[in-house]
Symmetry: C2
Subunit: 285 residues, 2 copies
C-alpha cells in the first residue's frame, strides 16, 4: 500500500502522540513535528506508511531517548486478553468448526492497536461482533486447503495482547508454527516478552524476532535469517494492517488476517471501516 494524501495529517498526529507519550515538552514536540514535516516533504514516492512511521518513531527515540512508552499498555492488554482466554478456548473447543472460529477470534484480537487511537474498544464486544460478521475478503476456503498441504507455518505477529488471540488460532493449526515478533519495541507491537507473556512458547515450535523495530514487516529492515524464513515458508500468516501494508505487494503470497481500522486501507481493499479480512495478497498459492 502506497502512501495516500490522507496519510499526511495522520503521520503528524502519530508523531505528536508518540512525542507526548514519551513525555516530550512543547519544545521537543516542536522539533519532532518539524522533523516529520521534513520527512513528508522528502518521501520516496513508493514508500509505505509503516516505512514513514518507522522514521517518525526512530526520530522520537533519538530525541527522547530509547524508551518503551507502550510498555504498560502492552502488559495491560496481555492481562486483559488472558482473562478472556479460558472462555474463548472453550467456545472454540465446543464449536462445530474450531479452526474457522479461532481464525475469527484471532481477527477480533486485532482490535488491540494503539497506532491511531489511545483507547481500544471493548474486547468482548469486539469478539461478539467479529464471530458473526461476514468477511469483506474471504479466502478461508483456499486457506484451509493450503493448510493441509504444508508442513509448517510462519505466523507474523502484530500487537501485544493480540498475541493471546493468536495463540488460540495457533492451537487449532495442524502443523508446527514459528511465531515472529519485533526485535525492539515500536508502538504496542509484540516483542519476545509479549509473546512469552501470552504463553506462546507452549504452542509454537519456536518464537523468533524479525530483526527490525518497525511496524509491519519491512523486509529491507529485517534480519537475513528472518528474510530466509519468510522466503522459504510454505505458508505465511500475517496479522494486522501494517503487515498488509508492507507485504501486500512483495511478490510472494501472504495470508492476511485483519480488521480495517484506517479509511485508506479500507479504500485499497474496497471494504468499509470495521470490515474483517482473511485474504491472500501477493500471488495466490
Amino acid at each position: 500500500l502506497k502512501i495516500h494524501h490522507d496519510c499526511y495529517p495522520c503521520f503528524l498526529q502519530q508523531a505528536l502522540r508518540a512525542a507526548r507519550l514519551t513525555g516530550a515538552d512543547e519544545a521537543q514536540q516542536h522539533v519532532i513535528l518539524q522533523h516529520t514535516l521534513a520527512l513528508l516533504q522528502n518521501m520516496q514516492p513508493d514508500a509505505t506508511p509503516p516505512e514513514i512511521g518507522y522514521q517518525v518513531h526512530q526520530f522520537v527515540h533519538e530525541v527522547m531517548g530509547n524508551q518503551d512508552p507502550y510498555l504498560e499498555k502492552k502488559r495491560l492488554s496481555t492481562q486483559q486478553a488472558l482473562a478472556l482466554y479460558p472462555k474463548l478456548r472453550s467456545m472454540i473447543q465446543q464449536s462445530d468448526d474450531p479452526l474457522a472460529l479461532a481464525m475469527r477470534i484471532s481477527i477480533a484480537g486485532n482490535i488491540i492497536d494503539f497506532a491511531m487511537k489511545d483507547q481500544i474498544a471493548d474486547l468482548w464486544e469486539t469478539v461478539e461482533r467479529v464471530i458473526q460478521q461476514p468477511y469483506a475478503v474471504d479466502d478461508t476456503a483456499p486457506f484451509k486447503a493450503h493448510l493441509n498441504s504444508v508442513n509448517q507455518v510462519l505466523f507474523l505477529a502484530d500487537n501485544a495482547g493480540e498475541t493471546v488471540f493468536d495463540r488460540l488460532l495457533i492451537e487449532q493449526l495442524p502443523v508446527p508454527v514459528t511465531y515472529v515478533v519485533k526485535s525492539k519495541p515500536i508502538l504496542n507491537d509484540a516483542v519476545m516478552e509479549d509473546a512469552l507473556a501470552a504463553g506462546m512458547d507452549a504452542e509454537c515450535e519456536s518464537i523468533v524476532e524479525n530483526g527490525s523495530q518497525s511496524t509491519g514487516t519491512i523486509l529491507s529492515l529485517c534480519s537475513e535469517s528472518f528474510r530466509i524464513r519468510f522466503e522459504t515458508a510454505p505458508l505465511v500468516i500475517a496479522k494486522g494492517q501494517a503487515n498488509y501494508e508492507t507485504l501486500s505487494s512483495v511478490g510472494r503470497s501472504v495470508f492476511c488476517l485483519l480488521q480495517v481500522k484506517c479509511p485508506m486501507i479500507g479504500e485499497d481493499l474496497k471494504a468499509p471501516m470495521g470490515s474483517i479480512i482473511a485474504g491472500y495478497f501477493g500471488f495466490h498459492p
Copy 2:
C-alpha cells in the same frame, strides 16, 4: 489564540479538503500539500490559525483558479435557515426574555461551519440544545448593561446561513447595527450576497465588507475604513471561532458568541467541545 501543535495535522486536512473541493487532481493535491508542509515549517511563532488558514486557501486559489467552492453550500445553508426563520421569530417574540433567547439562537446558528467538517448537524436539533444549555462563559449580564449604554453596534458575521440566525438577534438589539462580512469568498464565510439573501438589509443600518478574504478578522488584512470602524465602535459583537481566535487578544474588548467546535479552542477557553460561549475578550468594558 496561538497555533497549537494539534493544529498542524488539522491544517493538512483543511488543505486537502479545500484542494478536493475545488476539483484538484492527485498531482495538484500533492502540490498543495507540499506547499502547506512548507508553510508549517516557516510559520511565525505568534501566527493565529486563521492566518495560516488564509495562506493555505490563498495557495489553493492560486493553483486552482479563483473559485468559490462553497457557493452552493452557502446558498443551501441560507435556504435551510430561512425555512426556520418564522418559527424562531415567533419563539423569540413569545419569550419572557427575547434578547436572551435571540442570543442563544444566534449561537445555535454557529453550528453552520464547513471549516472542519463537510456536513453540519441538524439545525433544529442544535437550536433545541443551545436554548437549554448552560453557558460555559457567561457575560450576558454585563452585555445587556453595555448594550443600554451604547448608540450603535458593530456585528462581525461568521458564516452564510448563520446570517439568518444573526438577523434574529439583531432584530432584538435596541440600537442601529452595522453588519460586517468578508470582501471575497473564503470557506463558507458570509459575503455581501449571503447577508442580503438572509434579509439583513431590512434589519441593519448598513452592511459593510471588511476588506479581507480570511476567516475571522485579521486586522492587518482588513481595509483602513473597517479598522477605523472596529477601533471606534462602542460595542463589537463577533460571531464564531475564527473571530475569537483572531480578536481575543487585539487589545480592545470584543463580545464573542460561539460554539466550541475545536478541541484547542476548548482548551483555551477551559470549556468542553460543544460548549456555548457569550464572553468578553480583550479588556472588559
